[in-house]
């Protein structure tokens, strides 16, 4: 699954030759993340985050499996077993802080990865499937993170479980039975704690499975790149190894420095003090807030403060709570149709002047506001500005993107990645007609772009 000029795996020793015949695992790795995978030569640092996300998935699985050796999912002792890990288990504090902050870093890295996708339109053909699988991974991550946060059985764990499962209660008719079914009771208790632990252990492996599909789908068209012009010829690419393994190694070092700074010097700044108080079903904390990575979606949930009524009749069509739940889930689910909303043939935001303005001055500030308001108390003026930002969020994806992709005049694209990097490209003497097209596979010089198999 690669371009015609991709290097072929050649086993050198008797052992690797034998292995290649019986189970070509080295060949698979070689073609996936080795010298056999040609990658555009012009990737910038925004392309580091995919590998980093994979790294943090591994961190979470490894530290999580180890923590599960000491944790007990029982309301009577769960909080105490976490303290046992922190105080008595050898290096337990390090493992737990790495796991808690690892979740935050996983989300930081994933958000960078997603916004890379937004700006460079990585979701467009021929990469829709990669994008769709990515959204599935993100949804699984959110479910996993939510259930993981319940496990320490602190006040925020308990009330987070109460509030989030309460969202399902907003569904008409079947909502409340569903909520009781999810919790296995009328409030979070042992039943909920145990099933959340079970699923929190299971889902990361499901994520790992979808990640494999995500990478598989990536290797069919190959990586996107900052110009958005598809790879045409060998001079557009370099082998993944050693070029991008080296770059990813450096990026990993930088991120690890940030990560360990947090783990060893400020492990609790991203958490909430209330979660060091054991769960108490009789007393709600003053401000219930989810973990920071849910804040934008929490802000969207809370933006809907009024029931949808028919004016002057007093008839309620949709209660505010349900509106909020629909909007919150809708805000992520709409990413599934993103490849078909934005039909501009140009991928990269660099060559889309109008899109770029809306991206930097619309979407990014709106997301920043939503992040901020989601963590703020539900009071004015936060509610008001989060409502404006929520409105922009939906307008951006559902209205602005389809319209600008229709009316925008893109800047001229370079003929090829080689031209973008070097300033000129011998092959550019060929007709330039197709160079603007997004899915311009048909116009590439003969043999230069093979649809991968």
């Amino acid at each position: 699954m690669s371009f015609a000029w991709a290097k072929q795996y050649e086993p050198q020793t008797a052992l690797t030759k034998w292995l290649d015949e019986k189970l070509p695992l080295p060949r698979l790795v070689y073609n996936a993340v080795g010298a056999g995978y040609p990658v555009p030569r012009n990737l910038n640092y925004m392309w580091n985050f995919g590998v980093l996300a994979g790294f943090f998935l591994v961190v979470q699985i490894v530290t999580g499996v180890v923590l599960a050796m000491h944790y007990a999912a029982n309301g009577l002792v769960a909080f105490a077993t976490v303290e046992h890990i922190m105080r008595d288990v050898n290096y337990g504090w390090m493992l737990r802080y790495a796991h808690a902050n690892g979740a935050s870093f996983f989300f930081i890295v994933i958000y960078m990865h997603i916004f890379r996708g937004f700006f460079y339109s990585s979701y467009k053909a021929p990469r829709e499937m990669i994008w769709l699988l990515g959204v599935v991974i993100f949804l699984l991550m959110m479910a996993t993170a939510f259930m993981g946060y319940v496990l320490p059985w602190g006040q925020m764990s308990f009330w987070g479980a109460q509030v989030i499962t309460g969202l399902f209660g907003a569904i008409p008719l079947i909502g409340e039975p569903i909520q009781v079914w999810i919790l296995g009771g009328y409030a979070p208790d042992n039943a909920a704690l145990n099933r959340f632990f079970s699923l929190h252990f299971l889902l990361p492996f499901v994520i790992a499975g979808v990640v494999i599909l995500h990478i598989w789908a990536l290797h069919i068209p190959g990586s996107s790149n900052p110009t958005g012009v598809e790879v045409k010829q060998e001079s557009d690419t370099v082998p993944f190894h050693p070029y991008y393994t080296a770059k990813d190694g450096f990026g990993l070092g930088v991120v690890l420095i940030l990560f360990t700074s947090l783990v060893f010097f400020a492990p609790n700044v991203l958490g909430h003090p209330d979660n060091y108080i054991e769960a108490n079903p009789l007393s709600t904390p003053a401000h219930i807030v989810p973990e920071w990575y849910f804040w934008p979606f929490y802000a969207i949930l809370r933006a809907f403060t009024g029931d949808l009524t028919i004016p002057f009749t007093g008839i309620t069509l949709i209660p505010a709570k349900l509106l909020g739940v629909i909007a919150m889930f809708g805000s992520i689910l709409l990413w599934f149709i993103l490849p078909w909303l934005d039909k501009s043939p140009v991928r990269s935001g660099h060559y889309r002047p109008l899109f770029r303005k809306f991206f930097w001055f619309g979407l990014i500030p709106a997301m920043a506001v939503l992040f901020y308001c989601g963590g703020a108390p539900a009071e004015q003026p936060y509610v008001l500005i989060s409502q404006i930002a929520t409105a922009y969020y939906f307008l951006h994806f559902l209205v602005i993107l389809p319209i600008i992709s229709q009316i925008e005049v893109p800047k001229p694209l370079p003929f090829s990645i080689t031209e973008a990097v070097l300033g000129k490209d011998k092959a550019a003497e060929a007709p330039r007609a197709g160079s603007v097209g997004g899915g311009d596979t048909g116009t590439a010089p003969e043999g230069s772009l093979q649809p991968a198999e």
């Binding site: 000029w5 290097k7 030569r41 490894v62 180890v66 050796m69 000491h70 046992h84 105080r87 008595d88 288990v89 050898n90 290096y91 337990g92 390090m94 493992l95 010829q233 060998e234 001079s235 370099v238 082998p239 050693p242 190694g249 080689t418 070097l422 300033g423 000129k424 011998k426």
Partner: protein, 188 residues
């Protein structure tokens, strides 16, 4: 660099052998290897006994209340510990045995502390496969040799808790202990 970079990549591919030997790559890979290996330290040592388990690894037992001929069961490192005060007859019987004929030759004196020849402290763990032998509690079978009897596979221990019959290879283990006073022993 304005030339076709296909050539460049070919050159770099050809040079790869040379580059690989470059010290900077070796240093970088070596350092990464050291880092990766040191991550194993917490991952492995977290499975070793935690601080609370280690702290509970000594146990004080008050032996003053044990009457002659009686035994008590205590707990040492989450395992049963037998403390028996032997009768004169039991001591004599133990000393009568020809040590050379035993599977695990030990005298009673070697298995007790000086000055306390009547106090036999052993683990209540059969040396065969780890069952708890009978005989420490009132009314339990004490086996053919009047000591302890393991019902799992029929190991018989004598009054000095030495293996006499059955599959167990060793005498019941005598843990490290000392008298902290005349009536209290500290095990571990």
């Amino acid at each position: 660099m304005a030339t076709d970079t296909a050539a460049t990549t070919e050159v770099s591919a050809a040079e790869e052998g040379v580059r690989r030997r470059d010290w900077i790559h070796i240093a970088a890979l070596g350092t990464a290897g050291v880092g990766g290996a040191s991550v194993l330290i917490p991952l492995i040592s977290q499975m070793a006994p935690s601080q609370d388990v280690l702290a509970a690894s000594t146990t004080d037992v008050d032996v003053s209340a044990i009457a002659e001929g009686q035994a008590i069961k205590a707990v040492f490192r989450k395992q049963p510990l037998f403390v028996r005060r032997l009768t004169k007859a039991e001591i004599d019987e133990a000393n009568k045995v020809d040590v050379g004929s035993l599977r695990d030759p030990q005298t009673l004196a070697e298995r007790t502390k000086e000055g306390h020849p009547d106090l036999l402290v052993t683990m209540g763990v059969c040396t065969h496969l780890g069952c708890v032998p009978l005989g420490a509690a009132e009314g339990e079978s004490r086996g053919d040799f009047g000591g302890y009897f393991c019902p799992c596979h029929g190991s018989h221990y004598d009054t000095a808790a030495r293996i006499r019959k059955g599959p167990a290879p060793k005498n019941l283990m005598v843990p490290d202990y000392e008298f902290t006073s005349d009536t209290v022993i500290r095990v571990g």
